[in-house]
């Protein structure tokens, strides 16, 4: 075991930290401001770092990627704007796309010239994603798509989507699905923004009516869609744990500062033993997530790819976030649920990677999403139980029909 940061990585971190100090973004009020900032990050080599050089990446090591992720959060600057595209759509294309697809799309994902979203879930297919009903019927050199998708982050901004649709209604449900690139401006694509529990509208629903997708926009073989979707979810779950840890630490640091002046029982909150216990517990739990991040990095550096074990981390951090946001609001009392109006010294005021983040109230509400998206906690536990611990699978009607 050696958990020290090597001298090279320490030097790298110092360079990255200095870069962020010298390149603080100016105004970030509009989406075009964010796009310009993204371009600055790209030019610095901080976008798609792990991708092969041939596709515009840096071939950077997992540790270097983690360092940039941490420093970006630490500097409290927003990250990339094409999060889904860069996080896993690009890697999926690189792994499974045709050469033509790679040439056409990958670079523009990196530069955020073209923004991407993911059309997976449907009103009737959330956790049971493979039950999706959207159809893609072959018609010459096109597929004709009909159906409804929902809970698609950033779809209102997107130029393209990856779409899961059923190409063979007679096949067992996991086998009849294919994976497509969808032009979001194609005729028949109707995007409507959904207002979320936070009050903001990051999510959308989409109505697809006789949308024509050229055959060359299918990724992989017909019927291979489920398999590919599993890889993409793998990319998503392998996400940067250490950047997450840094974000949590910034939040707890801010909470501690607030508690030094927040009145409580004739004194200040930071002297209240109950508050101290809650913060001590949060600090310990975040630190444990840091160790998980270091273990993951240690594996990645050796070229090992995390498989279903990554569900352990996803389950832990999403449940932890929910628990911590609850503890924070317990400590802050009614001030915690304010979006505006409290004393400024109690506000969160952290600039971060999400556009509308920045209040305790928002984080509290947003934490409810983490245990639902990209596989709910219940689904993660099934994955851990069946694929990591090898417990017998649940007898399910859909699997029995296939048997």
């Amino acid at each position: 075991m050696d958990l020290n940061e090597s001298p090279e990585h320490r030097a790298y971190r110092a360079r990255v930290r200095a870069w962020f100090e010298q390149h603080r973004p100016g105004s970030l009020d509009t989406f075009e401001d964010r796009r310009a900032w993204h371009r600055t990050l790209y030019d610095a080599g901080f976008v798609g770092m792990g991708w092969p050089k041939a596709y515009g990446g840096q071939d950077a090591s997992p540790i270097e990627q983690a360092i940039v992720g941490e420093e970006m959060v630490r500097a409290q600057v927003p990250g990339t704007i094409n999060a889904l595209g860069i996080g896993f759509i690009g890697p999926t294309l690189i792994a499974h796309g045709t050469e033509a697809q790679k040439q056409r799309y990958v670079k523009k994902i990196l530069t955020a010239e073209e923004l991407w979203c993911q059309l997976y879930s449907e009103p009737g297919s959330g956790s049971d994603l493979a039950s999706l009903k959207t159809t893609a019927v072959r018609d010459g050199d096109h597929y004709v798509v009909n159906g409804q998708k929902v809970w698609s982050s950033q779809a209102y901004n997107a130029d393209y989507a990856i779409l899961l649709a059923r190409t063979d209604p007679t096949a067992p449900k996991h086998k009849g699905i294919s994976y497509f690139i969808l032009d979001m401006r194609a005729p028949g694509v109707d995007v409507r923004r959904l207002k979320q529990i936070t009050g903001s509208s990051e999510f959308c629903e989409e109505f697809l009516t006789d949308v024509r997708i050229p055959v060359e926009n299918r990724i992989g073989e017909e019927g291979q869609g489920w398999e590919l979707a599993q890889t993409t979810l793998g990319f998503e779950r392998g996400g940067n744990l250490l950047a997450r840890v840094t974000a949590h630490k910034l939040t707890i640091n801010r909470l501690i500062e607030v508690c030094k002046t927040l009145p409580r029982n004739g004194g200040v909150a930071i002297d209240d033993p109950l508050v101290r216990q809650k913060i001590g517990k949060m600090l310990a739990e975040v630190e444990v997530l840091r160790y998980a991040g270091l273990r993951l990095l240690s594996k990645l550096e050796k070229g090992q790819r995390p498989g279903p074990e990554s569900s352990v981390d996803k389950l832990y951090y999403s449940e932890m976030d929910k628990r911590h946001q609850e503890l924070i609001l317990e400590i802050l009392g009614p001030f915690g649920q304010l979006f505006e109006g409290g004393p400024p010294e109690v506000a969160l005021n952290l600039r971060s990677t999400r556009e509308d983040e920045g209040s305790w109230a928002y984080n509290y509400l947003w934490s409810r999403a983490g245990t639902i998206y990209s596989g709910s906690s219940e689904i993660q536990k099934n994955i851990i139980g069946e694929r990591v611990l090898k417990l017998p699978r649940e007898p399910r009607a859909d699997r029995m029909a296939r048997a």
Binding site: M1, L3, G280, L294, R295, V312, K381, L391
Partner: protein
């Protein structure tokens, strides 16, 4: 950056597991539970012969001079086996205190004895206030004609009743800062004035007792380290003890998880193995999350102590507070998954459940260590682990 164990470390773990599997099966654990001594001297000799008693002792005194990571690997195996015996008190508590402050004579006599298996040792720290910090040390040692006279009692002394050597933390002077004025004394088992009252407790594998000292007279050569300077040593010992306890509890938790997963695959109810049911599957998945996190917390802290990392104290407190709760949850959940059989004396789960509970309470409980975690963060030189 490497979070994996070396080949040598894995071999050491294999050695410990092999020995404990062969010599310390549940039947042996149960036999020692019924025994007043509570440990097997013959297994103790085997631990000495395989070098496991001296792994952290320096080479000059017959040890292998290995670190906390190696100790933690062995202790995790002890937890897996629900090993009943004075390993942690001897090899971690007493040996660490001696190594940090022992005189040449003390090292030659006691540390060599620990490594060769001839000395079972312990540390008497806690008193009626049950504090894990220096404020809990009230037992007085009066200086009198070149000697010290100790009177008072100590609670939860692990294996004090069989220890050849008892290190006693006593107060030699009063000061505003409770860390000042603490002195450690090395008492031999047959020193006049010492008596033991065994505790009747839920964990029968780690016997503890109340130690009473009545006008116990010792010479100045019994002082370990500096007079009034004992807390500095004890602070380091407690850090190691916290990580050691975490390692044992990690072993208990991992074993309970494994037993549960195996059981869930074969036990049938409603015509199915119970592992097919989400309620059981999810309980097992939650166990794995806790076990993986407990692993990270334990071994990061062990490494940090060995590397003298700036966040070593912080990491030790993170480990003790996190793993204590995690092990209680996992061992308890294992009983639930097993149903009625898990509640029976004949089944082994309760051995782990009980051992984890005692260790959760000793060497600073979760509340104590959470306070330490926050204190470290609020300190002027905050730990570098922070963003």
């Amino acid at each position: 950056m490497d979070f994996d164990f070396t080949e040598e470390q894995l071999m050491l773990r294999g050695l410990a597991r092999e020995l404990l599997t062969a010599e310390c099966p549940p039947t042996e654990v149960r036999a020692q539970m019924e025994d007043a001594r509570g440990y097997s001297p013959s297994l103790w000799r085997q631990l000495a012969e395989t070098g496991l008693l001296g792994i952290a002792v320096d080479e000059a005194h017959g040890g292998q001079a290995l670190g906390m990571v190696e100790l933690a690997l062995v202790l995790e195996e002890m937890g897996r086996a629900a090993y009943p015996g004075p390993y942690l008190p001897t090899v971690v508590l007493a040996a660490s205190a001696l190594a940090a402050g022992g005189s040449r004579a003390q090292l030659d006599r006691y540390l060599t004895g620990i490594a060769d298996g001839s000395v079972v040792a312990t540390l008497a720290l806690m008193e009626d206030r049950l504090a894990a910090g220096p404020e809990g040390i009230e037992l007085r040692a009066r200086a009198q004609g070149g000697e010290y006279v100790l009177t008072g009692h100590k609670r939860f002394v692990p294996f004090g009743h069989v220890a050849d050597l008892i290190l006693v933390a006593a107060r030699t002077s009063e000061a505003t800062d409770p860390r000042a004025g603490v002195t450690i004394f090395a008492l031999d088992r047959d020193t006049p004035g010492i008596s033991h009252q065994p505790n009747v407790q839920i964990d029968l594998t780690n016997k503890t007792s109340t130690l009473t000292l009545e006008n116990v007279r010792v010479g100045a050569d019994a002082v370990v380290g500096q007079v009034d300077g004992g807390w500095k040593i004890l602070d380091g010992v407690l850090r190691r003890a916290s990580v050691a306890a975490a390692a044992v509890m990690l072993g208990s938790a991992r074993k309970c998880m494994e037993l549960s997963v195996e059981y869930a695959k074969v036990r049938e109810q409603f015509g199915q193995p119970i592992g097919t049911f989400q309620a059981i599957k999810h309980a097992c998945a939650e166990m794995l999350v806790e076990v993986e996190n407990a692993h990270g917390a334990t071994y990061y802290a062990a490494w940090a102590l060995d590397a003298a990392a700036p966040d070593a104290a912080f990491a030790a407190s993170v480990a003790k507070s996190y793993v204590g709760e995690a092990a209680r949850k996992v061992c308890g959940s294992a009983i639930q998954v097993h149903g009625g059989i898990g509640f029976t004396w004949e089944y082994d789960l309760h051995l782990y459940f009980k051992q984890a509970k005692l260790l959760e309470a000793l060497y600073g409980d979760a509340e104590h260590h959470r306070e330490q975690v926050l204190t470290e963060i609020l300190a002027p030189a905050a730990v570098p682990a922070l963003a």
